[in-house]
């Protein structure tokens, strides 16, 4: 029964993505290549002082990304610290320094890790002016960087990658804003709440009183999913009936998470002038997605472990209105897209199921990954794959007519190095420094033993890969985790961006090598298979030992 349900909802999802892929992908390609500026945009550029038609080198583009994000962190931090004096704060006090830092970084890096319970911490002003704005623009930054990398491939012998401010503006105002507006309407129609009524005290059926929070949920929900943010309005995120009331809104939310990341390969194919290349990237992302989803669903349906066996199914931490299959699909989607939203508690998944959610993030969020970040991550791996494949056929490797030489390999390798180093170092430091270890074991870990270790590993994996979901058993609102995870999120977001933009710059500066029979085709199943193989092998080899010490040891008991 659950298996058929899983297949049916997957088929529906696949159909939806298939319908979206071309129009949305081409729309985005048009958006970022069009020479026209909207009147509103012109006005904005004039106010900010940007010359929209001036092209930027990769360095200038990067400075734009970093400056914009730095200002974002400072603003979100300030708004949280000033919450007590801001209007519509529902009476909440100022948010402490550590948590403010962590939250500011979290939303600016598109991670949306929440070390706090939003419904009892953040008022409407912080949610809307601080967090919701970042939900849009942090996604816009990711999209812009991906577009810059695509231009690196499509341009010839030029030193420029476009204009960051224009890409950011267009991504936000032409893509994210209208799509979220439509999505919010659909969600409201589906039963998601949208009001400013604060807390309503009601008398429950049993005669007790309860304080029910309200809020502009639907509008937040739309961009939370569409922009792969994942920060919920309520603490339990999309498991909350006000955020995600029915199985249909659930499936719609899943489509929202996947819509842009899965359409970006089309944008890529269209912009580089070879749509088959887009299909190949899509195929690689899709293959990993399907296999991972199948594994997670299987582990959950089998429901190995004492608890699930006794209960007759792995239902702990899952909402009855969704069931096992829909929870597995949401969990897979959320961890494979760097969204980090949840409709069930990953901490309560079976050990191997929980391992899959971790593994999904460890893949580097590339199948299909976060908005923009997924595409550029996959293209970086494609460069590594092309390099190995190129050697295997006896040609200096090239991808889309661009030579992959020492500089490109150096940047791609550094990109790939970044997140594993952050994840492993963060986790190891949590146990290596005696004082920290005492704090982690004493305060943060609620489930001692293997599962407690998994929670810490999950936290750093989620932060460094900018996912934002949590193995919920952990208390992360401590000085160590607020700081360490904050740093992991910052470095995990911006160091890769530095390498991606440098890579884009060096690709754009190259001419284009013509395709011959000796060129390795990068649009055939053969290359897709190799690409998937490289992704899985590299990730598996990196994380096998730590997974063995956590979920694997737990699951193989």
């Amino acid at each position: 029964m659950e298996t058929w349900l899983a297949v049916a909802q997957f088929a529906t999802l696949a159909l939806a993505i298939a319908l979206i892929y071309r129009p949305l992908g081409d729309f985005m390609a048009h958006t970022f290549t069009s020479a026209k500026h909207l009147k509103v945009e012109r006005g904005l550029y004039r106010v900010v002082g940007v010359a929209p038609d001036s092209e930027q080198s990769w360095g200038a583009y990067l400075r734009g990304v970093l400056a914009f994000s730095l200002i974002g962190v400072l603003l979100v931090y300030l708004i949280q610290r000033l919450q007590a004096v801001l209007p519509y704060s529902l009476g909440f006090p100022a948010i402490p320094e550590g948590l403010s830092f962590n939250t500011a970084v979290s939303f600016v890096t598109n991670t949306n890790w929440q070390s706090y319970s939003p419904d009892v911490t953040m008022g409407y002003t912080v949610q809307l002016i601080g967090l919701a704005v970042q939900n849009f623009v942090s996604a816009g930054v990711g999209l812009a960087v991906a577009i810059a990398l695509i231009r690196g491939f499509s341009r010839r012998s030029t030193g420029t990658l476009g204009n960051f401010w224009v890409d950011l503006t267009r991504g936000t105002f032409r893509v994210l804003l209208p799509l979220s507006f439509i999505a919010a309407i659909v969600l409201i129609a589906g039963g998601v709440i949208q009001n400013f009524s604060g807390f309503t005290d009601v008398t429950t059926l049993t005669g007790g009183t309860q304080s029910i929070p309200g809020g502009p949920v639907a509008s937040q929900e739309a961009i939370k999913l569409l922009g792969n943010n994942g920060g919920g309005f309520f603490n339990v995120n999309s498991a909350h009936p006000f955020e995600n009331p029915t199985p249909w809104t659930d499936l719609f939310e899943i489509v929202l998470m996947l819509a842009i990341p899965f359409s970006l390969p089309r944008t890529f194919g269209t912009m580089v002038g070879d749509k088959r290349q887009g299909y190949a990237v899509l195929a690689a992302m899709g293959t990993i997605f399907v296999v991972s989803l199948a594994a997670l669903t299987t582990f959950e349906i089998i429901g190995a472990g004492t608890g699930p066996m006794a209960a007759g199914g792995a239902l702990e931490g899952k909402e009855q209105r969704f069931g096992v299959a829909a929870s597995a699909l949401f969990g897979s989607t959320s961890t494979l897209t760097s969204t980090g939203a949840v409709n069930s508690m990953h901490d309560s998944f079976t050990s191997l199921g929980g391992m899959m959610t971790m593994f999904n993030m460890m893949l580097g969020e590339i199948a299909p990954g976060g908005i923009g970040a997924g595409l550029y991550g996959m293209l970086v791996i494609a460069i590594i794959t092309v390099f190995i494949a190129g050697l295997l056929v006896g040609r200096t490797p090239e991808y889309l007519g661009k030579k992959i030489g020492p500089r490109e390999i150096k940047l791609a390798s550094l990109y790939i190095l970044t997140t594993p180093v952050l994840v492993l170092l963060g986790t190891a430091l949590s146990f290596a420094i005696p004082a920290v270890r005492a704090d982690v074991e004493g305060t943060s870990i609620w489930n001692p033993g293997l599962h407690g270790f998994s929670e810490v590993l999950y936290a750093f994996t989620s932060a460094a890969n900018n996912n934002g979901s949590a193995f919920a058993g952990i208390t992360a609102n401590t000085p160590w985790f607020n700081t360490a995870l904050g740093v992991a999120m910052l470095l995990g977001r911006f160091i890769p961006i530095v390498f991606v933009l440098a890579l884009a710059g060096s690709l754009a500066a190259q001419g284009r090598i013509p395709v011959t029979a000796g060129t390795l085709p990068t649009h055939r199943p053969q290359f897709v298979g190799l690409l998937v193989g490289v992704v899985v092998i590299v990730v598996a080899l990196t994380y096998f030992p730590v997974l063995a010490l956590g979920p694997l040891a737990e699951g193989l008991q």
């Binding site: 390099f387 056929v393 146990f431 090598i513 390795l520 990196t542 030992p545 063995a548």
Partner: protein, 692 residues
């Protein structure tokens, strides 16, 4: 195999010398192994004083790991030493040619008034003291004291010291065969040579440095691969360094020796160990083909070539034309022409001469047992050859104008005859052929012109198939010829080249190369003349013929000692093979890690987490034997793969997709499977050792 064993034996001292950390540092992957080996040795030494725990912590185990880690480093060094050793032997024989000789230097050489330097004063200087621009005189029996160009004279030269070819070659001033190489011996005549190399930078000096690998610079692809390997090593270093504290949380922290073993097994030691041997062996393969690459970069570029410029003559067609038809003039018996042409060619040693006899024999000519006559050899002055019979009869064959002139001298008349002859020769010329006029003269009478032998360019057998292969590899072939477009087109079609450049001047060639390069293509070409030099320099791979001028050799980035232009195709294959070998061993190396994890992870943690014993799918004997077996496999696989690294992975021309599929199957899938079998077998042996 025995030869290989002896090569291994001679490489051992070098392998130890290379243990110097200052040398090892250049290979980051193997440097990590060396540091690990030193660390493990240190632990093994102090361990007895600290007490030991279980089997995987026993002193014997730690020593076992330490010894095999040292062996891993040594095997890597051995691979490099063996590769270098092959070059050293070649260098030694080249060095012999460099022994200092006395040279006769011309003081104040005056090319205008005394080109032969017969009146000029000369001094004796050691060849090592010769400077760029000096002029020397070399006579028969002497060694050429340095690289240079002949400015006066002609001589036959024994170049076997350089080329290995024992037949002497003719070198003369002017033209494309004026270069002489230091260390070669003049066999006849006297030549005046202008020295074109600085001391210590002669052709032989460069050759020695190349074959010894001393001047080997890393190529772009090699650098890129090194970066990738270093990054993988860093990832695994972090994995292993963080594993201590992480496992410490579960009280499962492994010993340092075990962690070092894991690290060495994970980092790509196989390719790290063999990388430099592959590069040296690649250059060496070229040397064995008698091609000298001035840089590794050129060899690598050869693998990337997308356009091949080939001279028609000697590459696509046989350098010498062949007789394909006998055309007699009106009123002349065809048999008479046939016999005259054949008789005059009987003692002609040139391929053209032989081809005339062959053709005549096909048409019924019977070779007489003896020919009573005197051969008249071809000279540049007469431009004719022939035979003078004892009975006074003369036969001449040669260029139309020369034979006509000879006939007129003997009193032959008749404008219609000469007009007809002109028509015939012109017709053959238009077809791209060479007309050879045959005439006979009875004693005391005017000569009679019999007809014309049609010498035709013959396209080499099998060349069309090779071009088809090249096309399947994605390489475009362009034929370059001085012929007129009509002829060029006919030959191009017959040979199956993709394009042709007719009536090509050096400027045309250069322009063609530039055009191709602007489209992002990589161009390879061969050349020998001084006027080829700009094109050779412009091409990404320029192969100069050893017979060519110094200017050409200087401009190209490879020199073919055999002066065989078809070798360009082999050079491309060698370039590809070099890359494929690196790629194959990298893939193999990384694929190996899967099995090693399955050996080491359960061995490390199964004691604390019994569930992980499920991962011990090889059913290895004990944790200690599992880890040691993985380390031993890791070391032995280097030795096993040395021959492959030196020989190179087999390369057959086919499409990129097919090559990729094949190599992924062999080295990717093979790389996953092989260590499962290997580690299991080694474990069976190790488990017999007491204590494991």
């Amino acid at each position: 195999m025995s030869m290989f064993t002896s090569q291994l034996a001679t490489g051992i001292p070098g392998a130890f010398r290379k243990l110097d950390p200052r040398v090892m540092w250049k290979n980051p992957v193997m440097f990590i192994v060396e540091v690990g080996a030193a660390l493990t040795t240190l632990i093994a030494i102090v361990q007895p004083f600290l007490g030991s725990g279980d089997a995987a912590g026993s002193v014997a185990f730690t020593w076992g790991i330490a010894v095999w880690l040292w062996l891993t480093v040594l095997f890597a060094n051995l691979a490099e030493a063996v590769a270098e050793g092959r070059g050293k032997a070649q260098a030694a024989s080249l060095r012999k040619t460099r022994t200092s000789t006395m040279a006769v230097r011309v003081v104040d050489y005056d090319p205008a008034h005394d080109p032969a330097a017969e009146r000029a004063t000369t001094t004796q200087v050691a060849s090592a003291d010769l400077r760029l621009g000096d002029t020397v005189v070399v006579v028969a029996g002497e060694l050429v004291p340095g690289d240079g160009d002949i400015v006066h004279g002609i001589a036959s030269v024994d170049e076997s010291a350089i080329t290995g070819e024992s037949a002497p070659v003719v070198r003369e001033s002017g033209g494309d065969r004026s270069a002489v190489t230091g260390g070669t011996r003049v066999l006849s005549d006297r030549i005046v040579v202008r020295i074109t190399s600085k001391p210590g930078e002669t052709f032989v000096d460069r050759m020695i440095r190349l074959v010894e690998g001393a001047s080997r610079q890393k190529t772009p692809n090699e650098i890129a691969l090194n970066i990738l390997l270093a990054s993988l090593s860093i990832i695994f270093l972090i994995v292993v360094l963080t594993l201590g504290p992480i496992a410490g949380y579960s009280d499962a922290a492994p010993s340092v020796a075990v962690l070092v073993a894991l690290l060495v097994c994970l980092i790509p030691t196989t390719i790290g160990a063999l990388l430099s041997a592959i590069g040296i062996a690649g250059m060496d393969r070229l040397v064995q083909h008698n091609v000298l690459a001035m840089s590794g970069r050129a060899v690598e570029a050869a693998g990337d070539v997308t356009t091949l410029l080939m001279d028609k003559t000697g590459t696509i067609t046989y350098g010498n034309r062949r007789a394909s038809e006998l055309r007699s003039l009106v009123g002349v018996d065809n048999i008479a022409l046939r016999d005259a042409a054949a008789l005059s060619s009987l003692s002609d040693p040139t391929p053209e001469g032989k081809s005339i006899v062959d053709l005549a024999e096909q048409q019924g000519f019977r070779r007489p047992s003896t020919v009573d006559g005197e051969i008249v050899p071809f000279t540049a002055q007469t431009r004719m050859s022939g035979i003078d019979f004892a009975d006074g009869r003369q036969i001449r064959k040669g260029a139309g104008s020369a034979v006509t002139a000879w006939a007129r001298e003997t009193g032959t008349k008749g404008s219609s005859l000469f007009d007809e002859l002109q028509e015939q020769t012109d017709a053959i010329g238009e077809l791209g052929g060479t007309p050879l006029v045959v005439a006979v003269r009875e004693p005391g009478r005017p000569a009679q012109i019999l007809g014309v032998v049609y010498l035709k360019d013959i396209v080499k057998e099998g060349i069309a198939t090779r071009f088809a292969e090249l096309r399947s590899m994605g390489i475009r072939t362009v034929m370059v010829t001085g012929d007129n477009p009509l002829t060029a087109k006919a030959i191009a079609a017959e040979a199956g080249v993709d394009d042709y450049l007719a009536e090509a001047t050096p400027e045309d060639k250069l322009a063609l190369i530039r055009r191709e390069q602007e489209g992002g293509r990589l161009v390879a070409m061969t050349g020998d003349g001084t006027n080829d030099a700009p094109a050779l320099a412009q091409a990404d791979v320029g192969v100069a013929m050893n017979t060519g001028t110094s200017a050409a050799k200087e401009a190209g980035n490879m020199v073919d000692l055999d002066s065989d232009p078809t070798k360009l195709i082999d050079i491309v294959a060698i370039g590809k093979q070099l890359l494929i070998t690196r790629g194959a061993l990298t893939t193999f190396s990384i694929a190996n890690d899967v099995a090693k994890y399955f050996a080491i992870i359960p061995a490390m943690f199964a004691a604390v987490f019994p569930g992980l014993a499920l991962l011990n799918i090889m059913q290895l004997h004990s944790p200690a034997s599992a880890i040691l077996s993985a380390v031993i496999f890791n070391a032995l696989v280097i030795v096993v793969l040395i021959p492959l690294a030196l020989r190179g992975v087999k390369y057959r021309p086919m499409s990129a997709s097919r090559i990729l599929s094949r190599n992924l199957l062999v080295y990717g899938l093979g790389g996953v499977i092989a260590p499962f079998i290997g580690i299991k077998l080694i474990d069976l042996v190790v488990s017999l050792i007491p204590g494991f």
